[in-house]
């Protein structure tokens, strides 16, 4: 069995841990618990064992810990669809990732699609797709597109 390391990166409180927990353990909690450092989960997808590094979110005080990215076979860029600023910061985070580990397969999760105050328009989504990224409008709460997101990143790491 092949093992792949995949990192979840994104701004503070965009739902990286929720997406991981929904996919790995099929659980969702409304309670917000911030991740300190990194959380690691493993899950098997067909013939691949995915080792998911759920890296603590970035904010103005804590830059992303790039050391955790080393050796990643793929990256999931996560943003909060109700906070446009987190979507805009994806580019900056991607630059950090590319600087540290180079071009690696990447997918984008615009999370919290179940909330009414969604503020990402199609133009923004298309601009992300134009960069060659697969974009998924996910909901960790309802599980919408969560499986597709992780299956896609596995598929891309095999290419």
């Amino acid at each position: 069995m092949i093992k792949k390391k995949v990192c979840m990166v994104g701004e503070f409180s965009v739902g990286k841990t929720s997406l991981t927990q929904k996919f790995v353990n099929n659980v969702f909690s409304e309670t917000y618990l911030t991740t300190i450092g990194v959380k690691i989960d493993t899950v098997q997808i067909e013939d691949t064992k995915l080792v998911i590094w759920d890296i603590a979110g970035r904010d103005s005080l804590s830059p992303i810990n790039a050391s955790y990215l080393v050796g990643a076979a793929g990256v999931v860029l996560v943003a909060d669809g109700t906070r446009l600023q987190t979507v805009e910061s994806i580019s900056e985070i991607w630059s950090t990732v590319r600087e540290k580990i180079g071009e690696v397969p990447c997918v984008v999760a615009l999370n919290k699609a179940d909330l009414e105050d969604w503020c990402v328009d199609n133009t923004t989504i298309e601009s992300l797709r134009d960069r060659g990224w697969d974009v998924f409008e996910t909901s960790a709460k309802d599980g919408v597109m969560v499986e597709s997101l992780f299956h896609k990143i596995v598929e891309k790491t095999k290419e």
Binding site: K3, G37, I40, T42, W53, S67, Y68, G71
Partner: protein, 506 residues
């Protein structure tokens, strides 16, 4: 001869024949095979002596494939060849495993009978960790429980080994976490590039990490391992790095490539028991005999108390049960006092105690003492016994119990009725005796009249029909007497309600 041939002849000269021969030799496959066979063995020998591995590396794959194919096609033959080599090793391994198991069992049994063993039982109940595991921990000096060969770059486990019965963990998550901790410490403490995490300690578990250029070996140890183990870890990691240099450099998450590394790491998964001396010391310290005797004593005392209590309770219950069924006794309390079974309540002096039945349950008459209030019981059984003793019943009269009542029934002789009339009528009046079917015997009445008055002429004598609802049976007599005799007759039969006389005065 052409000009070209002439030129060739000038240049090559006499070597032409040799070239032709060489060409034929190359084209002849059989000859070429023979030539290769002649030089192959010496070429291999030369290669080995010069410590170069070109030919060996080239031959490795075809030889392995050939060997595999040959073993598959003729497994029996290879088994026979290998048997003399493998069998002693297998026997030795089994023997060692059994011996090790016996030591473990002995130690477990030993520790189970000591105060320490009891303490471990409690600890096992409290924590949910199996007793055997706790007992083993007590006797272990150290045990290497997990080994993780980790890729420095990705933090993923290239291969992992675990000791038997060691707590199972998600190897990839643990490996990744070691790597993450390494990164965290490296970033947080601004240490040199060459400084690495080498030790972690959690409770009685230690994690030793040794680092290579692109791989690290993490070793989870329970207890205190000797320092020399760290050097062994380095040696093993170096060996893996040498033998699997390419696989490590090109690691892509495929752990199958490192199956061969397991045989290098396997010897590190070992344990060492505490020295026998210290075990003996512990044994002396524990002195298991004392606690065992004390426990047995307590157990015996408890058993005796339970048995005694049950026996006492059982005897009291038996006595009460049978007394409750005995007419004339109301046993309110049956208790133990001064070695006797004491019955408290009410008791008719005429009550018949079922001593014979109680005796069959091991309760003698002398064991029972009655501390009762004497009463006259009106229970039908007691009344019947009492009346039977009191009245000497003549022939034709019976006394019996029916539906909770006492009946006196039959044709009674006049003389018997006369002597008992007061008592009978009083009992009937108190409703303690039913006399609705009691009557006077006609013959005895006639005999009584005739015995006293010879001249009396009895015209008729009839008896009333006796029923349950009649007050009593009555004999009606019609006779002819003188006025003087009539007065005497009436006087004689006065107070006897069972006889009624009507007379014609002469």
């Amino acid at each position: 001869m052409s000009q070209l041939d002439e030129l060739r002849q000038i240049i090559i000269g006499d070597n032409s024949a040799q070239l032709t021969e060489l060409k034929q030799r190359i084209e002849n496959v059989e000859q070429r095979t023979k030539d290769v066979a002649e030089v192959l063995s010496s070429a291999i020998e030369k290669e080995l002596s010069s410590q170069q591995s070109g030919i060996v590396d080239s031959l490795q794959k075809p030889v392995t494939l050939g060997l595999k194919k040959a073993i598959r096609s003729e497994p029996q033959e290879y088994a026979e060849i290998l048997y003399p080599v493998m069998a002693p090793s297998i026997r030795r391994a089994i023997s060692q495993a059994i011996s090790s198991m016996m030591v473990t069992i002995n130690r477990t049994i030993e520790s189970a009978t000591t105060a320490q063993g009891l303490s471990l039982r409690y600890e096992s109940l409290r924590t949910g960790i199996p007793y055997a595991e706790l007992a083993l921990r007590q006797t272990l000096l150290y045990r290497v429980e997990h080994l993780y060969l980790i890729d420095q770059n990705t933090g993923m486990a290239m291969t992992t080994l675990h000791a038997d019965n060691a707590q199972s963990l998600d190897s990839d998550a643990v490996s990744a976490m070691f790597s993450a901790i390494q990164s965290f410490i490296h970033d947080s403490f601004s240490v040199d590039e060459g400084s690495r995490l080498t030790d972690l300690k959690v409770g009685d578990q230690n994690v030793w990490v040794v680092h290579g250029a692109s791989a690290m070996l993490a070793c989870v140890i329970r207890g205190e391992a000797p320092v020399s183990l760290r050097q062994e870890l380095y040696d093993a990691l170096d060996m893996v790095r040498t033998d699997f240099a390419n696989e490590i450099a090109e690691y892509d998450g495929d752990a199958a490539k490192f199956m061969g590394a397991r045989s290098i790491l396997q010897p590190l998964l070992r344990s060492e028991l505490k020295q026998e001396d210290s075990a003996t010391e512990n044994k002396k310290k524990d002195k298991p005999v004392g606690p065992i005797l004390f426990s047995l004593g307590v157990l015996a005392a408890l058993t005796w108390l339970v048995v005694h209590w049950y026996d006492s309770y059982s005897r009291l219950s038996t006595v009460k049960h049978f007394l409750d069924q005995t007419p004339g006794i109301t046993a309110n309390h049956v208790i133990h006092d001064d070695g006797k079974i004491v019955v408290q309540g009410l008791k008719d002096p005429d009550a018949i105690i079922p001593y014979q039945t109680l005796n069959s349950y091991g309760i003698a008459e002398s064991d029972i003492r009655f501390a009762t209030v004497p009463v006259r019981s009106l229970e039908p059984e007691m009344e019947l016994a009492r009346f039977t003793n009191e009245f000497s019943l003549p022939t034709g009269v019976s006394l019996y119990k029916k539906d909770g009542k006492i009946y006196l029934e039959g044709d009674a002789p006049y003389e018997w009725l006369k002597s008992n009339q007061t008592r009978i009528l009083n009992l009937a009046s108190d409703k303690r005796l039913n006399i609705s079917r009691l009557a006077a015997d006609e013959q005895s009445v006639r005999a009584a009249i005739n015995a006293r008055y010879d001249s009396v002429r009895i015209n008729s004598m009839t008896s009333s029909i006796k029923t349950e609802h009649s007050k009593m049976g009555v004999v009606n007599i019609e006779l002819e007497v003188s006025s003087k005799e009539f007065a005497s007759l009436v006087s004689s039969f006065s107070g006897i309600p069972w006889v009624k006389i009507e007379a014609n005065i002469k």
